[in-house]
């Protein structure tokens, strides 16, 4: 298969998977695209939205479109790490000898839906840390590799804060993207009513296998990126740091902690997937712009003033992006800007 055919195959697979999800999920085209971008970039995605907007349904539909094992964990305050990772149980063989055997938990699946992830205690939330970053789970000193591809899709509700445990920064940083699921528009709502209240339910076809997903992930990493686009990604991330000497005023005023280098990686990887999904062989500035909010909104921690003023992180990122682009032109002669 030639490289052009590989790219073409990816474009078609991306489109068909999006189409399958679109059979069930009405609207949310950007959210669906970003979830798929997260899948092919090899990251994990956190979806935030009020109940009833179809976050869980979106993930279940995506899982249905992929020939991959799917586990769902409903996070509750009494959930324990062993309920996620698994535990050693005593088994007795026919000869009457007893031994420990590791019983795998739901984390050992390709696609993991961590529903309402902020309802579990930080200890339980942290059980996902190793799996998300290293693709393994360690129990009693023995490391068990997770199946590949391993893709965590977590949901959380932003308004019901009573009895919740906000995800720690280390956990948040493990998510490639944080997506906001908003209310649908009028036309979309009409379509939702139409689709969900009729007798026959729509069925989702399986359009992609696990090895195909892995192959596409490799292909994505081959997409070249120009020096000035890469520099813009770095500038965006640096501009979120209030300590940086060239940080914009809005950052100095409202931000306590800026994005980690994982933020820059997320920008570039997300940009690569978007470019390839459009049949383009290079990352452009527009690709970075498209993924900046999703990649950085959970990596920027506001300070007290920012919280008290009710600063919207998305609009703050918009300002940061503008400033970073202006910085990339700074010092250049008028004809070269």
């Amino acid at each position: 298969m030639t490289n052009a055919e590989r790219v073409q195959e990816f474009v078609e697979a991306f489109g068909s998977l999006k189409g399958e999800v679109g059979k069930i999920i009405v609207g949310y085209e950007e959210v669906v695209t970003d979830v798929l971008v997260g899948l092919f970039a090899g990251g994990h995605v956190l979806l935030e939205g009020v109940p009833g907007l179809g976050k869980t349904l979106l993930i279940k539909t995506l899982a249905a479109g992929l020939e991959l094992s799917f586990s769902r964990i409903q996070f509750t305050p009494d959930l324990m790490p062993a309920d996620i990772i698994g535990t050693n149980i005593i088994l007795e063989d026919p000869e009457g000898r007893r031994h420990f055997q590791f019983q795998k938990g739901p984390i050992f699946g390709h696609i993991l839906l961590a529903d309402e992830v902020n309802r579990a205690t930080p200890k339980t939330q942290s059980a996902l840390l190793e799996g998300m970053q290293e693709g393994s789970a360690t129990v009693s000193g023995i490391s068990h590799p997770l199946p590949s591809p391993f893709f965590v899709l977590a949901t959380q509700n932003p308004i019901e804060m009573e009895g919740t445990y906000p995800l720690p920064e280390a956990q948040l940083d493990r998510f490639l993207f944080k997506l906001r699921v908003t209310y649908p528009g009028l036309e979309e709502l009409n379509e939702i009513i139409d689709r969900t209240t009729r007798a026959r339910e729509t069925e989702v076809r399986r359009v992609m296998t696990g090895p195909e997903v892995l192959r596409f992930r490799e292909l994505v990493r081959e997409v070249p990126i120009a020096a000035h686009v890469r520099e813009l990604a770095s500038l965006i991330v640096m501009a979120t740091h209030p300590q940086w000497e060239h940080a914009p005023d809005v950052t100095r005023r409202f931000v306590r902690y800026g994005s980690s280098p994982r933020g820059a990686q997320a920008l570039v990887l997300g940009g690569k997937v978007r470019a390839l999904a459009q049949g383009r062989y290079n990352v452009s500035v527009e690709d970075l712009r498209a993924v900046t909010r999703a990649a950085l909104r959970h990596r920027i921690i506001l300070n007290f003033e920012g919280e008290a003023e009710g600063v919207d992180v998305d609009s703050l990122i918009g300002d940061v992006l503008e400033q970073a682009e202006a910085m990339s032109h700074r010092g250049k002669e008028v004809f070269l800007r």
């Binding site: 997409v223 070249p224 120009a226 000035h228 686009v229 062989y281 250049k332 002669e333 008028v334 004809f335």
Partner: protein, 483 residues
């Protein structure tokens, strides 16, 4: 390889366009500055002669040429040219990426696809018009020097100033040298008519509009309003009368004793001043070595101060008598007493100016008698060493008085409890006492900022559960509003 050539050709084409636009841009700037400099030979047309317009034109053209050359000579990075091409043709950074990655040894298989893709797209595109023309800001101002140049060319030359000072008097006006033996005195020497005229004009100029004098109301900017010395302000600022009568302020300078002592430090108190002079006077000398004259001056000074409400007049009188009778030691004792009273009075005044807290209030209230009587005479003169600081005076408490709150009955506030029986036993508590009657001496709003900062830090450290953070913030905001 052919693809790479196409890319390089495009970049070179864009580079040439940038050079051309730069040459235009900097050439126009050079034209403007050349026109400015070109005004100089036209201004000096008288000295430069008929070649001045040609020189000006030469300077203008030279400026434009230098600007254009600079624009052509400036370097153009290939990556920047590629970016411009990307932007001009909406190629989404394809050209820049292909140009950068095309020559890299670690390029991925997709780079070849990219280069081929870019080449295919470029073949259909016209490479002209990538770089837009820009006009320098100076270009808009170019008509000004241009018009000036035309005008200066047309108008006759401006006379060039000679290399010596102008002669204002003709040879007829020169006075014949006087003989040494002339009997005419200098004051009586007749003035030259022209100079006299000049002087008069000067006087008339200073003789501004007629003033209303002392009877007129003062207006803003009026001299009478500006100078509070009304005797002078009412007068016309007439130089002749000034000479005749003399300035009152100059006369004041003759009365040295009435002039203020500019060396005196007005931030010092009377007591400190006198104490300083006393120290200078004594300077380790015995009473019989001290100058009686200077001691008398010091006593007189203290007497003068005492007239403005001081109570040391008697002591000073006693000291003066002792000095008259030649008893310097007694005079010094009297002066010391007067000095002590002066200090006590000043301390009392300072005490009155300062802010009073609960401690002072208490002292002046029920416990006033503890301090050795509440009579006004005693308060007025409470003697040396009696101060407000702890450990001073007759107060036996080395740390000063206790506050009202601490002196309050410890049993007048407390908590009482009562067992409650029922399905589940409990204990009801009730806060008793006069806790609410004791006014808080804490400056509530004074520490508000400090507590707010502590709250912010606690929030930042997430010591406050997130569910309660909004309530805490609202509480502090409500306090802020109350401030």
């Amino acid at each position: 390889m052919a693809d790479a050539d196409i890319l390089e050709r495009l970049v070179a084409q864009v580079g040439w366009q940038i050079r051309r636009r730069r040459a235009e841009f900097y050439g126009l700037r050079g034209l403007f500055f050349g026109a400015i400099v070109g005004l100089v030979p036209l201004l000096l047309k008288g000295a430069a002669g008929p070649a001045a317009p040609l020189m000006a034109l030469g300077v203008v053209l030279l400026g434009a040429a230098v600007g254009a050359l600079r624009g052509l000579a400036l370097p153009i990075p290939a990556a920047d040219a590629a970016r411009l091409a990307d932007r001009a043709f909406a190629l989404q950074d394809r050209v820049a990426t292909a140009l950068e990655w095309g020559s890299r040894p670690d390029r991925s298989p997709l780079v070849d696809l990219l280069v081929a893709d870019v080449t295919a797209r470029l073949q259909d595109l016209d490479g002209r018009g990538v770089v837009l023309r820009r006009w320098p800001r100076e270009f808009r101002l170019l008509p000004i020097p241009a018009v000036l140049m035309v005008l200066l060319t047309l108008v006759p030359s401006i006379p060039f100033p000679a290399g010596r000072l102008p002669v204002f008097s003709s040879s007829d006006d020169t006075e014949p040298p006087e003989e040494r033996g002339s009997k005419v005195l200098t004051d009586e020497r007749p003035r030259v008519g022209k100079r006299e005229l000049l002087q008069r004009a000067e006087i008339m100029e200073r003789n501004l509009s007629a003033r209303g004098g002392a009877t007129g109301g003062s207006q803003p900017g009026d001299l009478a309003a500006l100078f509070k010395d009304t005797a002078l302000a009412a007068q016309r600022p007439d130089f002749q009368s000034f000479l005749k009568k003399g300035d009152e302020r100059l006369r004041m300078l003759e009365q040295v004793d009435r002039l203020p002592d500019l060396k005196r430090d007005f931030t010092q108190s009377q007591y400190k001043m006198i104490f300083q002079r006393r120290k200078e006077l004594f300077g380790g000398l015995r009473p019989d070595q001290i100058s009686p004259q200077r001691l008398r001056e010091l006593l007189e000074e203290m007497q003068r101060m005492g007239r403005k409400g001081g109570n040391w007049g008697g002591d000073i009188g006693e000291g003066m008598e002792a000095l008259d009778s030649g008893q310097s030691d007694r005079a010094m004792e009297a002066m010391e007493r007067a000095l002590s009273k002066m200090r006590a009075m000043e301390e009392r005044g300072r005490d009155g100016r300062g802010l009073r807290g609960g401690r002072e209030d208490g002292r002046r209230g029920g416990r006033g008698g503890d301090r050795g009587g509440s009579g006004s005479d005693m308060d007025a003169d409470f003697g040396e060493g009696e101060g407000l600081l702890p450990g001073k005076g007759r107060n036996p408490n080395p740390k000063g008085d206790a506050t009202e709150r601490l002196r309050a009955n410890p049993f007048d506030a407390g908590v009482e409890g009562e067992a409650r029986s029922g399905r589940k036993e409990g204990y009801d508590t009730n806060l008793l006492g006069k806790g609410t009657n004791v006014p808080s001496r804490l400056q509530y709003m004074g520490v508000f900022g400090q507590y707010r900062k502590m709250m912010e830090e606690a929030m930042a450290r997430e010591q406050v559960p997130r569910d309660y953070q909004s309530q805490v913030k609202e509480y502090f905001e409500s306090l802020e509003d109350r401030r």
